[in-house]
């Protein structure tokens, strides 16, 4: 299995643990700062990664903004643990970036051409 495929498998396994309780949404600083835009919350970002990996969504500017604007502050994980779960939410979002970032490191024209 390739490194990318292995990472994708691990990400989907971690994402499957989420019970969608949404308790992590309210404590996310970017969700608070955006006055309630759910894709800018930890739960919203997990859903974006899941749908990108499964091909439901295609990466665009709005989804890139949501993924790369995560502060990686791990405040959401405190709440997740207190509710009896233990998802590594920020680690999962970070790994989502690890999966996607190498494709960003290329010429500006190439990225522009993809738009």
């Amino acid at each position: 299995m390739s490194k990318g495929a292995e990472l994708k498998r691990e990400l989907l396994a971690e994402l499957a643990k989420c019970r969608a309780c949404r308790f992590c949404v309210d404590v996310c600083p970017t969700y608070q700062a955006s006055q309630g835009v759910e894709p800018l919350s930890s739960f919203g970002r997990l859903q974006i990664i899941r749908h990108l990996l499964t091909g439901v969504l295609q990466l665009d500017d709005a989804l890139s903004y949501a993924l790369y604007s995560c502060l990686q502050c791990r405040r959401c994980e405190n709440v997740c643990q207190s509710k009896g779960q233990a998802l590594e939410i920020c680690r999962t979002i970070h790994q989502g970036r690890v999966y996607l970032s190498p494709s960003y490191v290329k010429g500006v024209e190439e990225v522009e051409g993809d738009a």
Binding site: D61, S101, P102
Partner: protein, 343 residues
């Protein structure tokens, strides 16, 4: 939000190119990184090594470029302009970067004082480390934060090899991000070479009595502590900052969101998402201002992101290093340094 893919791509590509070309994410060269240590007689050898990770020194440049990015974000997304800027930066080199940094003179002075204060604190507790001067490399924190894990791992490995080849068994870092990178994210880079890493507060807190004995009076009596996310949730360093603040004679106050539940300063996304970052940092600064006018931070990124609200909210944001500089720096004599060498 428009053209976010292009902005992220430019940030990642520029970082990667600069690091490959100059060994530095911002493309700085020369003596800029060690200006803070002028006048201090820093040893180059010893069992332990101070590691700045260039985080404090970057502050003046980051402060200016963040303003530019926020102002010209839509222009920066234009491929032609981005190419022109990159070429201009390469031609102008360090002179342009230094001119940008000079415009942020106050934050430069604070960053300098912070590093000198951390140095003074380590000397005061008898733990004076060596310093690699111009050999000191960048840590790779930005690469790691942006998901460039292979590049960040490679940089961590280079660090481990350098510290090991210079005979150091312990590295003392001044910022939490570098500690997390080398202790949490890529621990093998140092561990397999028999090198350990500690945050400077892990040396100061256990010996805080020596700080209390030597300190001078500070111009403030109390502080509200802002825990950095990395310090609190990654490294578990929360008591230490409070203990050292108390040793400096300060009463410690707590905001509503504190310790493990601390709220972020907004800094990690400032490179590309200035507006959202500022909304996050404003919320946190307002929360802190409700408790005290004197805010204490222990991370250069927190210092950079909370200090812009000083005039508006009537607060003063202090890095712990600045307070150490005021309390101990003026007393730092050659005798103290020599004593520290044998501590």
């Amino acid at each position: 939000m428009p053209r976010t893919r292009l902005i992220v791509s430019q940030a990642l590509t520029t970082l990667e190119r600069n690091l490959r070309r100059d060994g530095d994410p911002l493309g700085f060269r020369g003596n800029y990184w060690i200006d803070w240590s002028q006048g201090l007689d820093l040893p180059s050898q010893g069992p332990r090594c101070l590691y700045t990770g260039r985080m404090y020194q970057m502050l003046p440049y980051v402060a200016q470029t963040s303003k530019l990015v926020a102002r010209y974000q839509s222009w920066l997304a234009c491929p032609g302009l981005a190419k022109l800027l990159e070429l201009g930066g390469r031609l102008a080199g360090e002179a342009t970067l230094r001119r940008l940094a000079r415009a942020a003179g106050e934050i430069e002075q604070r960053a300098r004082d912070s590093l000198r204060g951390i140095w003074a604190g380590l000397c005061a507790v008898g733990a004076q480390p060596a310093f690699l001067q111009q050999q000191e490399p960048y840590s790779g924190v930005l690469l790691y934060d942006l998901g460039m894990e292979d590049a960040a791992r490679g940089q961590a490995d280079k660090l481990g090899a350098l510290f090991s080849s210079q005979g150091f068994s312990e590295v003392i870092a001044v910022d939490p991000h570098s500690v997390h990178l080398l202790r949490g994210a890529f621990p093998e880079a140092l561990r397999r070479r028999g090198v350990s890493i500690r945050h400077y507060l892990e040396l100061l807190a256990p010996a805080r009595e020596r700080i209390a004995q030597r300190r001078r009076l500070l111009p403030i009596q109390e502080v509200v502590v802002h825990d950095s996310c990395v310090m609190a949730r990654e490294l578990g360093l929360m008591d230490q900052v409070r203990q050292v603040a108390q040793a400096l004679g300060l009463a410690v106050k707590e905001p509503a969101d504190t310790r493990e539940n601390t709220a972020c300063c907004g800094g990690p996304i400032e490179y590309a998402f200035g507006e959202l970052s500022q909304q996050v940092s404003r919320l946190r600064a307002q929360e802190l201002a409700r408790v005290s006018e004197q805010v204490l931070v222990t991370c250069p990124i927190c210092l950079l992101n909370l200090s812009p609200y000083e005039s508006e909210l009537g607060i003063r944001v202090w890095d712990l290093g600045e307070l150490l500089h005021r309390a101990l720096g003026a007393e730092l004599k050659p005798d103290d340094q020599r004593q520290g060498n044998h501590g």
